[in-house]
């Protein structure tokens, strides 16, 4: 475990497992059980094209617990493509951001669900690799999918041996994992500026 994490865990109360305050999570669960409408969330980004293959998203507000909420600050995410894909490598590319979304969501889902079950995780990292055939994106072959055909994830975890087998089902709580494996509806409009 990184030193900072160990220190944080040590400083926190007994309700804190894996650095997650299970009292906060428990309160959220209790409130949503009582009023299911509190579970509805809307997450948002605003994206601006910056020329060529560069663009930037900002994230500030979201909707949750029946109210408009704000992050403590605006987060900015820059995307570009490598020279091979006609870009200038000013940022990770969109499909790499998708893999990050998956890695981070499965990690947080595993850690938080482990916490509420009293499963202590000491270290956790992951390697992800996904396959895309450019013939799809470039429109060279109608039979070739445009997106990822397969994503492989390997998590390396340090925890008690008897807890290892419990982690798999906890990772599957991940909203991004669920979105990617089940697919989702994406509606889009294009309007004049």
């Amino acid at each position: 475990m990184p030193k900072g994490v160990a220190k944080m865990n040590a400083q926190q109360s007994s309700l804190c497992v894996n650095g997650v305050d299970t009292a906060v999570l428990g309160k959220t669960v209790g409130a949503i059980k009582e009023d299911p409408g509190l579970g509805a969330c809307k997450f948002r980004v605003h994206n601006t094209w910056a020329g060529s293959t560069r663009n930037s998203s900002s994230v500030l507000d979201f909707y949750g617990a029946k109210q408009e909420m704000k992050h403590t600050r605006t987060f900015v995410m820059n995307a570009d493509e490598p020279p091979m894909l006609a870009g200038q490598d000013a940022g990770a590319n969109p499909v790499e951001y998708l893999l990050h979304a998956l890695a981070s969501c499965m990690t947080t889902s595993m850690v938080a669900h482990a916490a509420v079950r009293g499963i202590r995780i000491e270290e956790l990292s992951s390697e992800l690799e996904g396959d895309i055939d450019l013939r799809g994106f470039l429109g060279l072959s109608a039979g070739v999918p445009k997106g990822f055909t397969n994503i492989r994830v390997t998590f390396a975890v340090k925890c008690a041996a008897e807890d290892m087998k419990k982690l798999r089902s906890l990772a599957e709580f991940s909203p991004v994992y669920s979105t990617l494996t089940s697919g989702t509806k994406v509606d889009f409009d294009i309007v004049a500026k």
Copy 2:
């Protein structure tokens, strides 16, 4: 159009449309047409848990054009959750990264495919919003999906009026759009560290 974009476009050759060097794209298309195996790409991230709901991905290498390739530098992406979700807001959360991946991919797909068709785009921005019901993630209701049930995207574009209606099918070339709307296979293993 931002001043920098206008300047860049003005400085570039006549093969450059929307800041995209269509000669580079044309070369890629030609090479893959000749040898379809060149289209196979593998994109990767490495993620490390940093305690609580914080984790960080790094991106450096990828596989494309039948060889291992490297970005010009390592890109780092930090994720966290807002206090409402037991985090400390040290970064955008995983589902917001997913929305950014979608926004950036649809934007780049539209811009690049417009470029090779000679469609000039002057300005382009987008607003995305996606719905998630926390009851799914929290395991409170088996019937509630864990992931996004619907994502709405609105693109605002400045371009010639007669080109507006051509953009919709270009955005649909996006690999992330395709992955999200069709779903993909995600295989994962959990091994001891």
